[in-house]
């Protein structure tokens, strides 16, 4: 979009965002403005939450462990930990010198209180089920060993325990000061240990965080959600701007400093601007065409292979993501450390072979309905291109555009032939495969109901040894390409646009915007 002149319009947008109603900030105060596409649901981490809530609260509260940049789990409030030989007992040693926003030091008492609160069903913690009877393992005990040591006991070994604690949608299992809740247990406000604390929340307009002077960052460089989390600005403001176009306009006028989640289409325009910098990462989301393998027509893997063979995967990726996405045929995202050479191969289209396979499968031009939606342009455009590419090999695909909720309903009930879909980011390839793989009869969401795949998936989960896991993923990938229960096409890019005077912004493939370590010139 062309340059815009003048401060008048900036003033206008300032008013638009209701800034004029605020008390003027002190002259020396630095203010960084970022966008929320919807207001956060609550300040209660891991309980009443959505992605926005998770993202904002990552700046306010911290857990014992968290994800590192490479999606492995690293220490945060826990300095280190030991696992018992039977894999059931975890002993966490707290990092000394950490204090809560209210000045109280972090001790094992708060950790025990926090974990027990989460495990209480009345709390409705998002990940309560995972760590109770219904999940992988049950927490049978949480106790303080001394003021700096906490012990957690599981009923059976669970390799994913730490990863679960680190999960962003679990609120990072944040350690809170008990004054976060009232005497009746009702939620008040988070008293955490993060670099920022909440200073003001005007519903549907903005949310203000201010620097927590007493913050003690985990030493070291910025690393995922773990290290180098120091605040570099005095005040961090999240403006609620639902409309993406309005948000983009705000950025162009200088009323926003950071705009995360830019669509590739918009990024095409923003790329030309000299007062902006784009931060593009190959994300952990997975775009795929899902098949219902019990469908009378699509149950034959040769037809599914045929469709896969019609796809010009790089071309499709380029068109849908404006050249910013990474073609990828593997369930393992390109940014994952497990994405090795075996995963990286992208077979070229082969229309003749596709025709032959379809023919062999007894396909005679019957229409295949591909469900898509208008909410997410990438899913829609991807479906349109898949339709057009399959047409070239004589395979008739009919698009059915539903709204997102209706498509999700079909996804959850398995009522479709084919579906254009994007899996949200899953840090661990096991979780990625887990989203796809399983017993269709028990869980209709699963697209890949194959005993061999399930065995391999179990193997990848049971061990913590990277080499062993890598082998399992490579085998899974080979099997996946042969069976084609779904066609993974690309990992959508994670694009942020930041103003030129913003320093230290670093996007992260695995997560939304992180505004610690970000300053203003």
């Amino acid at each position: 979009m062309p340059d815009r002149r003048g401060g008048r319009r900036s003033a206008i947008l300032g008013a638009a965002l209701a800034l004029l109603a605020l008390p003027p900030a002190a002259r020396a105060e630095t203010l960084l403005r970022a966008r929320l596409n919807a207001d956060i649901l609550s300040t209660n981490p891991g309980v009443r939450r959505d992605e926005n809530t998770d993202m904002v609260l990552q700046h306010v509260v911290e857990g014992l462990v968290a994800y590192r940049e490479d999606t492995s789990v690293g220490p945060l409030l826990a300095e280190r930990w030991e696992t018992s030989p039977d894999g059931r007992t975890y002993t966490f040693h707290l990092r000394p010198g950490v204090s809560f926003h209210n000045g109280a030091p972090l001790t094992s008492a708060e950790v025990v209180w926090s974990l027990r609160r989460y495990l209480d069903p009345k709390t409705h913690w998002r990940c309560g089920r995972e760590l109770s009877g219904g999940g992988y393992a049950r927490v049978v005990g949480v106790e303080a060993v001394d003021t700096q040591t906490v012990r957690v006991v599981l009923d059976k070994p669970f390799a994913g325990f730490l990863a679960t604690l680190a999960r962003v949608d679990c609120g990072g299992t944040a350690i809170l000061h008990p004054s976060s809740v009232g005497p009746d247990g009702a939620w008040r406000a988070p008293v955490g240990t993060g670099p920022f604390r909440i200073a003001g929340w005007k519903h549907n307009q903005y949310l203000d965080l201010v620097r927590f002077a007493g913050y003690r960052a985990l030493p070291g460089p910025r690393d995922g959600h773990t290290g180098g989390k120091a605040a570099r600005v005095d005040r961090l403001r999240f403006l609620v701007i639902p409309d993406p176009v309005a948000a983009e306009a705000a950025l162009l006028r200088g009323d926003l400093d950071v705009l995360d989640n830019v669509t590739p289409i918009d990024a095409r325009q923003l790329r030309k601007r000299r007062d902006l910098r784009l931060d593009v990462r190959a994300g952990f989301d997975v775009f795929a065409i899902l098949f219902e393998t019990r469908d009378p027509l699509l149950r034959d893997p040769r037809l599914r292979q045929a469709i896969a063979l019609t796809l010009d995967v790089p071309g499709l990726t380029r068109a849908v993501t404006a050249g910013m996405g990474r073609p990828n045929r593997s369930v393992v995202p390109v940014s994952s450390p497990f994405h090795d050479a075996a995963q990286a191969q992208v077979p070229p289209p082969n229309l003749a072979e596709a025709r032959r396979l379809a023919q062999a499968a007894g396909y005679r031009g019957q229409p295949i309905t591909l469900i898509t939606n208008h909410r997410y342009p990438a899913m829609f455009d991807g479906a349109v291109l898949v339709q057009a590419m399959a047409m070239q090999a004589g395979i008739t695909i009919r698009l059915e555009t539903l709204d997102w909720a209706a498509e999700l309903d079909r996804y959850n009930t398995g009522r479709y032939q084919a579906m254009s879909f994007t899996y949200s980011a899953r840090m661990d390839p096991s979780l990625g495969y887990d989203a796809l793989t399983g017993d269709k009869a028990a869980d209709p969401r699963k697209v890949w109901d194959d005993p061999q795949a399930r065995a391999l998936l179990a193997r990848s989960r049971a061990t913590a040894d990277p080499a062993e896991r890598q082998a399992a993923f490579d085998q899974l990938h080979a099997l996946f390409l042969r069976d084609v229960p779904a066609i993974v096409v690309f990992n959508p890019p994670r694009i942020a646009a930041v103003a030129a005077n913003v320093t230290g912004y670093q996007g992260w493939a695995a997560g939304p915007q992180r505004l610690w370590g970000v300053g203003l010139r």
Binding site: A319, F380, A388, E400, T401
Partner: protein, 270 residues
């Protein structure tokens, strides 16, 4: 019969052009409107692509032609459905009067009080996007207005003296309805149908613009416009062509309905 005015001729010409385009598009379009060409995206209008190409390299002219087919088909089917149902219900209300009328009209008023666009949106959400549910949704959205007009026409014609004359002759109400009310209401209904064609076309494109219209990849003018929106400043031709098609068609429909109004009035234009 009166001769058509200049504007009437323009209306006939525009609608004629539209129908001709529809017929041609059944047999031939410059390119396959669905065929992508990822190496030639965003081509400005040229000798190869007269109206340019879109974000996937599809030919805009071919898509506009195919869009005419879809838009016109949906509009015609909707008008037929809304008018035939509306005539039955409106006549029943105006003819039977009394409780039937009251119940029908209360229900009708409720539908009228419903924003038509949102009603259509709801119906489409229930039945899924598709030509069929689009026709159903728009027919339901416009039905209340048709019922209103037809009922109004029936009630007003009922009060004319020639209906009383028919009564004096001993004719039954049904005969009066059939022989006097229906022919005298039919011009109004024809004019209504012509305007309705325009409105439906407009609503169809608006719904497609909102993203709940004709299912992709089939082009309709509305969804062409919707997908052109992000490229407004770099590829304006993508928005101009389908918009111009809608304007020309609506103009044609409106002028035609004006001409019909003049022509059907046996007393001639005022």
């Amino acid at each position: 019969m009166r001769r058509l005015s200049l504007s009437g001729w323009i209306g006939v010409a525009l609608i004629g052009l539209l129908l001709a385009t529809v017929l041609v598009s059944l047999a031939w379009t410059p390119f396959n409107p669905l065929a992508i060409d990822l190496d030639h995206t965003f081509a400005p209008p040229s000798a190869r692509h007269w109206l340019g190409s879109d974000e996937f390299g599809r030919d805009v002219l071919s898509r506009a032609m195919a869009g005419a087919r879809i838009s016109v088909g949906i509009a015609l089917a909707t008008v037929a459905a809304a008018v035939s149902a509306g005539v039955v219900l409106g006549t029943a209300a105006g003819f039977l009067r009394g409780p039937v009328d009251r119940v029908l009209m209360t229900f009708n008023d409720a539908l009228l009080a419903f924003p038509g666009m949102l009603l259509a949106l709801g119906v489409i959400a229930v039945f899924g996007a598709g030509a069929g549910s689009m026709v159903g949704a728009l027919a339901v959205a416009y039905l209340p207005s048709v019922v209103r007009v037809v009922r109004g026409a029936v009630l007003s014609i009922r009060e004319r003296e020639y209906i009383e004359a028919s009564r004096v002759m001993g004719n039954s109400e049904a005969w009066s309805m059939w022989r006097h009310v229906a022919p005298n209401a039919s011009p109004q209904i024809a004019v209504l149908a012509a305007s309705l064609f325009g409105w439906v076309l407009l609503s169809e494109s608006a719904l497609s613009f909102l993203g709940v219209g004709v299912p992709a990849p089939a082009p309709s003018w509305g969804n062409m416009l919707a997908s052109a929106r992000p490229y407004l400043d770099t590829a304006a031709w993508l928005a101009i062509a389908p918009g111009a098609c809608i304007v020309a068609t609506l103009l044609g429909a409106n002028l035609l309905s004006d001409a019909l109004r003049d022509r059907f009035d046996p007393r001639g234009a005022p």
